[in-house]
Symmetry: C2
Subunit: 578 residues, 2 copies
């Protein structure tokens, strides 16, 4: 039976609980949001003792199924003040699932800031140790020390200096199959929640782990085979992402006039080709890096890479479209090597790249560093290593906070979380998602870029209002369900375009759990997750007034299409499943 | 007929409007809140072009009536995100009223930060001038230059570097009869709203002004005489405040066990006597300062003073209980001279002293400077003069922001505004006001210290819940009315204890306006002001979840009474007049 591991971070006490029948069907985001909704007072201080940090594997994680190794982290967000789930790849989820642990709940907090603590999990149980030598170390060096201590095969969940110092843009990083902490549950500052609890890392060792017991192994195997075919058969998951990574989108979104440039002043970046996925693949190939690799065993999409410098030395991986955009077109930095260094810095500091790229643009807006200066941006981020550097403290608190610190009022945030890489004036479906998801501005919560631009799963005009509320709402429901399975969200490209994909997903869930799970059940799961999340946010004090983009999107037309954001708050309410 | 002066700060255009009959009966807070409610989109950015800054005289201001010279400033608060009115003494209100101007509305904002502008008002109209030489100057030096240019008799409304640099704790300062910018509309960051509009100061010159035309001069004169008797006849307004200033409260509140000490850890400060009003009066007398003086002509309470150093040199005036507490017991600084320097720094920088004292305590909590170190606190505040000093920028954004910057989660704020000088666990009536007023934590919005501690206007146990909701609600209504008249709030001590006081107030308003204004009308005015304010906040996204004190007040008993804050959010709703 799937277990929940509760750890009191004040007393170091822990206990394993069996999940009851209802809860045992929940994984990933469904489980994190359920626990947060039930156990965390919505009005509590996100960095106080009443908040909890929940780490949950998907229901399908730990099985050999393709692309099922995502891990969810949840809590009350110190950035948005609302509920938050952020998910990541890496090896952690599968190893944790194989130990029979569906969720880890970090509770309470130490009375005083003390030595960083490490939680080590293996088949024999739990060890909690002080490791003062890790204080304020970057995630890369931390992981080196942890691999040296615990062996190369463990999976690691880790925070950097940003999380330790309770910065609002702090991420939680996860190691990939090569041991690099380059995968991130980035958004919403959950790294700071972990930091408030004094935990530097969780190390999971699945040596001789019992593994997952499938209820119907034969049915599972058959459905898993079909699942792999579906993913391999789609142009995006089978060809586009493996060839150029997510950065393939740079040219596509730029062409669509929706690539936010210079803090959302234009939808076209004249140097887009310089930072495109095509350019990245070319450089990596020339320099002897790795063009495609997966973030966890069993991934057949392989959208990651090892980006190397001119000497072939590794800089970063998981170098995503969103990161490149946030650090690049949005700040006018047009050199991929600079962007790779910025990505590496964020991973090492434990900072969300989307939030941080937007923050750099706000800092440029405020005159702290010049537009387009990649070296200055790196120096700016390095200040975050020093907890006594107050500019560093500001920057690591994200775009809204930095705007308030600098007196900049043109700040692209919803619910204080910075916008991702699609201008909502030119991709209105994803704008609806930014405005209405309980997560704060988040493209992954309902990726209408599919229907608006990629023409996957439908064809809806990105520049008009028609149809975009509905598409966002349906995607938000579907995403909440997918985020609960352990599936990588990229499976959605194939799912949306393949007739039997949802049916196959239902078969997999049925064979895994022994319950008869239908496609309707999957949809209902998504709805129920969203209901939990909206209910939490309502109790935390969110009203519809927060379901809107900043004023400037409604006033400044976006070149080249010169469209504005024209949804009213009341119209937007229809995208919510409350 | 009373006029409204509208100034577009982007174009420098201005126009005078006659107030219509309904509006012409409104002054002070009633007028600022009405205009903000009607004209400012509740969800706008407080420092963006859609916010407005409204400066309004009370209805009775400009008459010879005792203690009627208060001025109100209103806008959407960048600190709380809600509606805000802050009021102040000084000579500005009477001079402005004598020019026939009831309200000044600053609209829009310059496209780029440019030279500071000065608005000069006299009987001939309005001049708007660039004065680049005033950029980033303290208010004292700014006023010296403005008096040199415009003559000694003008009244000045001015912001300091904090307001110019859009800091969230920025005040608006007003000159007193001796030309010192020591009077403050302190709370809620309205100085930043003024800064966003590029206005450094408004200078009002009432030479040969038409003055106020009373509708019934005889009736007014008679009621005014009775009014002065009432104020002189009460122990607080006639004796306590004139002898020791508001700092008379240090010993009283300490004795009551409600003087928040070391960031609200105790209700008693062992060094209270060192910073008491009695000690202050003794020092001033010994050094040759001025023990009592008024903040505007016609004040008969005379609670201000000129605090001087050992050489008899002026340091500060308007050196209030709240300031002394915030900078003193709350931070463990126990030297009056240090506190006077901190007050002077706040006045000169244009910073709210309550917010800033709390912020210093939060900075001590975060290890930035040691507890009780008055010199270090002064050095900390001096950093605010330098707009490139990031710690200075943090500090000047107030306690909540500083808590987020430093990772301190024990921060005494409601709606992001810092608590004043009465611990809500030991003065529960004022705690109800902190939690429920639309202003964010504010003692002046409903000063139940009267009934809880001073036993003026009633006797309600400060440590129990019984009766405290009702007393706060009634005081909030009465205060909203008084804040609209131009009366100093301290008249309330006498009003609460004198049978014919409200009747006298009604007579004064009737004789001033020519309308038959009853005591009920005054109450209804208060109710209608609050309704405007709550309606604005609701639209801005406030829900009842924000009507509560931080969690730690409900968890940590306060010595010496060891009481906790035990009102639930739902109980507190009864204190609102929505």
């Amino acid at each position: 039976m799937a277990k929940l591991l509760r750890i009191n971070t004040k007393t170091n006490e822990f206990k394993f609980e069996d999940l009851n029948e209802e809860m045992s069907l929940l994984g990933g985001r469904a489980l994190t949001s359920k626990i947060i909704r039930k156990e965390v007072p919505a009005t509590c201080h996100p960095l106080g003792p009443s908040n909890k940090l929940v780490v949950a594997t998907g229901i399908l994680s730990g099985t050999p199924l393709a692309n099922s190794g995502r891990i969810s982290v949840g809590g009350k967000s110190p950035l948005t003040g609302g509920i938050k789930e952020a998910n990541s790849g890496g090896t952690f989820s599968q190893k944790m699932a194989k130990l029979g642990i569906r969720g880890i709940v970090l509770e309470d907090k130490p009375e005083k800031k003390d030595s960083p603590k490490i939680i080590y999990l293996n088949k024999d149980g739990v060890q909690i140790e002080n490791m003062p030598e890790l204080a304020n170390l970057g995630t890369y060096e931390t992981c080196e020390k942890l691999f040296a201590k615990y062996g190369k095969k463990v999976g690691i969940l880790v925070i950097g200096p940003a999380g330790e110092n309770l910065r609002l843009a702090a991420s939680i990083q996860f190691t990939d199959p090569k041991g690099r902490p380059a995968r991130a549950a980035g958004r919403g500052g959950l790294g700071a929640v972990m930091g408030s609890k004094g935990i530097k890392a969780i190390v999971v060792d699945d040596t001789d782990a019992p593994g997952i017991k499938l209820k119907d192994p034969e049915a599972f195997k058959e459905a898993a085979k079909r699942w792999a075919e579906i993913l391999r058969g789609h142009a995006v998951t089978g060809q586009g992402l493996p060839s150029f990574g997510t950065a393939i989108l740079i040219n596509i979104i730029n062409e669509a006039g929706a690539l936010p440039t210079k803090n959302f002043r234009s939808g076209r970046f004249e140097k887009a080709a310089e930072v495109s996925g095509e350019k990245m693949a070319e450089l990596i190939q020339k320099r002897g890096g790795v063009v495609k690799e997966g973030c966890h065993p069993g991934c057949i999409i392989q959208c990651s890479q090892a980006y190397v410098d001119e000497n072939g030395e590794y800089i970063t991986s998981g170098f995503e479209y969103e990161t490149i955009w946030a650090m690049g077109p949005n700040t006018l930095i047009d050199n991929l090597d600079d962007l790779a260094q910025l990505d590496r810095l964020c991973d090492d500091l434990g900072l969300d790249t989307i939030e941080t790229g937007n923050t750099i643009a706000v800092a440029m807006e405020g005159g702290v560093i010049p537009w387009g200066d990649g070296k200055a941006a790196q120096e700016l981020l390095k200040r975050v290593y020093d907890p006594k550097d107050y500019l560093g403290r500001i920057i690591a608190n994200g775009a809204a906070f930095t705007g308030e610190a600098l007196g900049v009022d043109r700040v692209p945030v919803v619910k204080r979380q910075a916008l991702p890489a699609y201008d909502p004036r030119a991709v209105k479906g994803v704008g609806v998602t930014y405005a209405t998801t309980p997560m704060g501005a988040d493209h992954t919560a309902g990726y209408a870029v599919c229907q608006n631009i990629l023409k996957v799963g439908g064809d809806i005009d990105p520049l008009k209002k028609e149809g975009n509320i509905e598409v966002s709402k349906n995607l938000q429901i579907a995403t909440a369900a997918i985020d609960s399975t352990g599936f990588c969200l990229f499976v959605a490209f194939a799912v949306l375009d393949t007739d039997d994909a949802l049916e196959t997903m239902a078969k997999l869930l049925s064979a895994r759990t022994g319950k008869n799970i239908s496609v309707d059940d999957i949809v209902n799961l998504g709805i129920s997750v969203l209901k939990d999340e909206y209910a939490f946010n309502k109790e935390a004090g969110f009203t519809k007034s927060k379901d809107q983009l900043p004023e400037f999107f409604s006033k400044e037309p976006l070149p080249p299409h010169n469209t504005i954001w024209d949804f009213t708050i009341d119209e937007l309410q229809a995208a919510k499943v409350e």
